[in-house]
Amino acid sequence: MSTAHDHDHAHGPSKTGILRWITTTNHKDIGTMYLIFSFVMFFIGGSLAMVIRAELFQPGMQIVPAEAFNMLTTMHGFIMIFGFIMPVFVGLANWMIPLMIGAPDMALPRVNNWSFWLLPVAGVILISTMFMQGGGPNFGWTFYAPLSTTYGPPSTDYFIFAIHIMGISSIMGSINVIVTIFNMRAPNMRLIDMPIFVWTWLITAFLIIAVMPVLAGTVTMMLTDRNFGTSFFNAAGGGDPVLFQHLFWFFGHPEVYIVILPAFGIISEVIPTFARKKLFGRTSMIYALASIAFLSFIVWAHHMFMTGLPLAASLFFMYATMLIAVPTGVKIFNWVATIFKGSMTFETPMLFSLAFVILFTIGGFTGLMLALIPSDVQYHDSYFVVGHFHYVLVPGSLFAVFAGIYYWLPKWTGYMYNETLAKFHFWISAISVNLTFFPMHFLGLAGMPRRIPDYALQFTDFNQIVSVGAFVFGAAQLIFVYIVIQTMRGKGVQATQEVWEGSHGLEWTVPSPAPYHTFTEPPTQIERH
């Protein structure tokens, strides 16, 4: 094997400077660009959140006017979901899927290049709406009609265009992932032998292909309603605003699994490594994934319990939603069982993964509470909902992203990151994330509605705790940037090929840093399951 790689070392990127990045078709280059792009968006979206929390630090209007506040919450949500979480997982997929299945590159390298370069275009359009006359989109990230059609600001058309471009980008990325996984696996690797991260991405890619076109159709209907006199969502012309919600959530609910399934995959890679045991219940993990993906298509209306659904429909969506707790419970049980009696060490990826298992479970439980119609009637549109989805997205998806980056960074850069600083980053993040999002549940139960710039005096104490937590959490992410940059600059111990003592899988059979071209000869030693 080593002779094959010595040969590879001779080939670097064919172009240098900026053209290397614009014209690259290398999965590692494109993965890196995805990661950098998404973290730029993460800090933009995060800055908006900081302004939101500064405004909510005390009751009354302090920093931003109400219209701008609405725009901030909308753009924060949209940038974080479409600009950060989705691209960051595509970046990880680009880097790791070919390495994990023993492929020389992604199956469609030019498509890969294009799907990345569409993103900065969409990102710039999206962000530019904030500076347009009439203000940016201010109707919440769910952009319900008629708020976004009849009453939306002029910039909404640009917002729609940005969604179209991002949709095309993620659909092309998904097609690439599926073709890579089906056609480019090492000859001896059966589907069942694939690492769980690859499995999660296979299923995620199918979800994206199934629902992003529905979102594209929905925003196209919005566009024609706004500009060409159609009445898809306009009651006056015989349309129905509730139809918008059905279409949006038919996309929106699978979307929440699109942003969590790859996170499950990362956790399923990291925990076995640091528990030095095989993943418990590997096959059941894959079945659980597939069940979650299937169920995600038949639960969308649990976001719409307050729209006056018929009782039978409400009950169906309630029970179907609660059913998702079963495969999710299987996954959490399997992670805990993997840890059980393992020889654990607590490097930063493991710390983030353990925090993920605990905190994501809290988010899952509040999700169950929201699934229950009688309680949802009370929690609906309150800060409880905000607490719930931030628990599954921040200590859920985001912590898994951190776990994945710390886990694979030595493989990417060839150097170990600064473990002390990284642990510091973890502990500050883990404490402040709870400080930020846990009190939101109580605020919601006490009756504080979401998406408001001002609130009643009795909510002040908890809002101040939340704001302080948010500022600390935001600042802690600068430590992360520092750690990554230092590692990229080679300030650290040289990483070995295996990097971690308990690591398994093909990505650990290539040198660190992974050479520009890997697996030009397919690997022969495949772990069977």
Binding site: I175, N183, I209, P213, V214, A236, G237, P310
Partner: protein, 178 residues
């Protein structure tokens, strides 16, 4: 080896692209499907799309109270009201209620009235023979228009339903397409 791989890429990509366009079509197919589903199950109907059979008998043993609520969407200077806030009817009995709309502007107006029946589960029992919400209404400048709804309550309406709300919203459609 290489050639066969390349071929299979094309095939798989074609299938996946077809699936993508299929889902795009599905999104647009949802529009008529949604209406068809609502009509089939009798939910979300505005009392306008049901097949009508003349009532055969009047159930004088029961009384259902029908309340009327009118609402003008937006800030158009129209008025829209009915002189009766509510009526009490027997199931099976045909009723006619008059509504009035006044156009206070100097401009001829076109309006569309949209009816909603509350509670939603009861709307399938409200049978309309004629309603001003079935068509667009043209109201000339400074004019008042009298409009009527003719309806009956199905005698199969559940015994525990004692009160219904018939809610009309007026949308100004002047200058809209068509």
């Amino acid at each position: 080896m290489n050639a066969t791989k390349r071929k299979s890429h094309t095939r798989l990509v074609a299938i996946l692209l077809a699936a993508t366009f299929g889902m795009l079509l599905f999104a647009f197919a949802m529009v008529p499907l949604y209406d068809a589903f609502c009509e089939m199950t009798g939910i979300n109907n505005k009392g306008g799309r049901v097949r009508l059979e003349a009532p055969t008998e009047i159930d004088t043993s029961r009384v259902v109270k029908i309340k009327f609520i009118t609402h003008v969407q937006g800030d158009t200077p129209w008025e829209f009201y009915t002189k009766e806030n509510s009526i009490e009817v027997h199931p099976g009995e045909v009723n006619k209620v008059l509504f009035y709309t006044e156009n206070h502007t100097d401009q001829d107006k076109v309006g569309q009235f949209v009816a909603t029946i509350s509670p939603g589960q009861s709307d399938r029992y409200v049978k309309k023979a004629e309603c001003f919400s079935f068509n667009k209404q043209y109201v000339d400048a400074k004019q008042t228009k009298e409009m009527s709804v003719i309806f009956f309550i199905d005698k199969d309406i559940p015994k525990d339903t004692e009160e219904l709300i018939l809610f009309y919203t007026l949308f100004d459609q002047t200058g809209d397409a068509k």
